[in-house]
Assembly symmetry: C2
Homo-oligomer: 446 residues x 2
């Protein structure tokens, strides 16, 4: 177990895909994203490596790369198991660096960089143990699991002791749940029918395609134009019927009152939730929106841009969200996300992870599987987001069958990309980008 | 007035001072800061330039520099007055960049970089008008002033219309207040007696020094060790007496309950406020602390790491702070800080700016002067923080006389540094750093 594996180097790469050319991923705030990632490779003195990433949207990936480079001295030269055996302490040191914390703390670029590094460490740990990360997590005792989490600033909602108790409660059910999950997988919903910028024909075609694949839950982007939103929601409802589930997502485009007014206009389409109605920092604003929409049967979902556990804590405490959308690359990696699951469990809020982008589906499934096996044991009315893009670049891509994520069995966190992808898509020198730059098709946001 | 001045280039430099060698600026969370800044120079097709900066703590300055570089295409090639005449729109575009906003939004590295760029634009504007920024602001009509502010996400506290009304109310008093300010300045408090790591003798010497300079208000760092805190608070009280004012600052080191317990232990020293008792993101936590300490006569102050106007809005709405400590380089520059002043005024909360570091005193004085002249008109029980360090690098340093900031008359935002400073302190190639690196004295946080 505690074999000696030394981390001898950290590489970090700027990998981008020119998705803005097809409007894939376009929403009311992100009209032209080039799905990208800062990609970390941990080299060790053994044959094992660790791969980790954080998702980005094109420009700015180089800044996150600079963030990882500034932190890598915390990792290089360390014995991997010295980190894993006291992971909470390591995590706190990394996020409390006396000079770096000023430019965070625990948010934005620096926390994305933290996530990339931490995700790579968990991938390495899974590989060293010969287990997928969901299984690594699920095989931990409550005490081991909790030893990875920094409880600073959240003990007013959950303490280490309470966390251990929550995990102990269902320990005997783990084996049965694992078996069930391996047989049936975890429900997925699709966001792919409703990006802004898709034509009507494309939306209809996609609705049918995902219905045929067994999907029952569909998300549509809204918020740029009310009439257009109505027309697209109507079209999607006509395709998917009323027995299936529809959610809508505004990607932060509204103020508080505007969100309420707009959603009342859309209530005829019976959306389950409105996602990101306003600023991701506005806890009290979300609470106001949730309260106003509650009589109309519309819930509030948010989390993909929630900065850290302290923000999640308040959203959860304040009934500001009813669906907690953790993101596997936004807050500081698995250690911190586990603390959000524990708080959500304590306060009885459903976790429906954000995914898509680059590698987010690959990673977040592990965490939701662990939640099901060890903490929650209930999939009712819960889904993991699914977007069928950029999976082909991963050596072990997500496996979604009949609208369910099937647990991967390969060791690690499913974060390793093909060498050819890394070579061709590295920005700006990879051949994908050199060709676009030559053709003048390189996106300029101005 | 609307002369054509084109911005033809943006330079950004990584400037650092080795302050960690003397423990200047040491607190419970930042034990070894090297006070630094990302320094922006806007070049124009005229003889005028704009200088702007954001404060950093050493490592990581290069990341903020990368942030500025990623945004500079929004500025280069623009006519300066096209920006100034529709400043709110420009500010929103800069902070809503479709690809960059994912790695913020409006927080951390990207918002620090925004501040550096925006501060440089205001410096340029002041220079073009031949006015210090406080005077540029104070000479604006309410409508002009408000046209610089993006009200997105804050209209539930203050609307454009309400802001104009608030500013109109005191318009007739501006001339008199300006005269008064030029004569007497604005009160300052000193943080310099109480950094962690200073010896007893040094603390006593500094108390006497600042008493002799006319200071009546003193701040001490706390939070590393309760007995040591008591001993230092007692020593400072012995030096400054009980008729003067003492504040304490924990720099985020505690959880919520811990903050309450610790401060009750320190209440015998009658601190006016506890600053940053816990995570800068914990609005509800600060509110809990403020409520618990209210019967003990201790107020809560925070803001230097508050990410943006949306976070400030909630702190203000929720009675989570009684002293609002805006920072001139943390949130997205003057435009956004003005919105915080307006919200604080509306909700009757005192603004006592954070300063120190590099250039923070130089900049923030302008904003507090404007607040006094145009919005607030009252200095009672308010101060601007003052730290007597790094001023010698600025061409027009702050002028503090008899514990009061005296308004500068030079055009601009007081942000221009001497060429020699830029040359010697540029990291890592400036001679200051080359020598330290050669001697092996370069700080390593691990």
């Amino acid at each position: 177990m505690a074999r000696q594996v030394k981390i001898i180097g950290v590489q970090v790469k700027d990998i981008r895909f020119p998705t803005s050319l097809q409007h894939d991923g376009s929403d009311a705030m992100h009209t032209n994203p080039d799905y990208s990632c800062a990609y970390v490779i941990l080299n060790t003195d053994s044959e094992h490596k660790g791969y980790g990433l954080t998702f980005t949207c094109g420009n700015g990936t180089e800044i996150v790369v600079a963030g990882v480079n500034a932190m890598k001295n915390w990792v290089v030269g360390k014995q991997a198991y010295d980190i894993f055996n006291d992971f909470a302490s390591f995590w706190r040191k990394l996020t409390s660096d006396s000079q770096l914390r000023w430019i965070g703390p625990e948010k934005g670029v620096m926390h994305l960089a933290t996530a990339a590094l931490i995700n790579a460490l968990w991938d390495l740990w899974g590989r060293l143990e010969g287990k997928p990360v969901w299984k690594l997590l699920s095989d931990m005792t409550p005490e081991q699991l909790v030893s990875t989490i920094d409880f600073r600033y959240i003990t007013d909602v959950v303490t280490e002791k309470e966390a251990i108790e929550m995990l102990r409660k269902d320990q005997s059910k783990r084996a049965q749940r694992e078996k069930e999950l391996l047989a049936n997988g975890y429900p997925a919903y699709t966001t792919q029918v409703g990006w802004l910028g898709y034509s009507d024909a494309k939306i209809k075609m996609l609705c049918q395609k995902y219905l045929d694949q067994g999907f029952t839950t569909f998300k549509v982007k809204v918020g740029q134009n009310l009439e257009n939103d109505k027309q697209r929601c109507r079209m999607v409802r006509e395709c998917i019927g009323w027995e299936n589930t529809l959610m809508v997502d505004a990607n932060q485009v509204w103020g508080v009152q505007e969100a309420i007014d707009w959603m009342i206009e859309l209530k005829e389409f019976k959306p389950l939730w409105i996602e990101e109605p306003t600023s991701p920092d506005d806890i009290l604003g979300h609470a106001t929106i949730a309260k106003a929409l509650e009589p109309h049967g519309i819930k509030v979902a948010t989390g993909e841009m929630c900065a850290n556990r302290i923000m999640f804590k308040q959203f959860l405490q304040h009934n500001a969200l009813q669906y907690c959308q953790i993101d596997s690359a936004r807050i500081g990696g698995i250690n911190e996300i586990l603390s959000v699951y524990l708080m959500a469990r304590k306060l009885n809020v459903k976790v429906c992870p954000h995914a898509g982008g680059v590698g987010l589906c690959e990673m977040v499934q592990h965490l939701q599987f662990w939640d099901y096996i060890c903490l929650n044991g209930d999939k009712t009315g819960k889904w993991i987001e699914y977007v069928d893009q950029q999976h082909e670049h991963f050596k072990v891509p997500t496996n979604v069958q009949n609208a369910a994520y099937i647990p991967p069995l390969a060791p690690g966190y499913n974060t390793e990309m093909f060498e050819a992808t890394l070579k061709d898509n590295e920005y700006p020198m990879g051949k994908v980008w050199q060709e676009l730059i030559k053709q003048g098709k390189h996106y300029d946001p101005r």
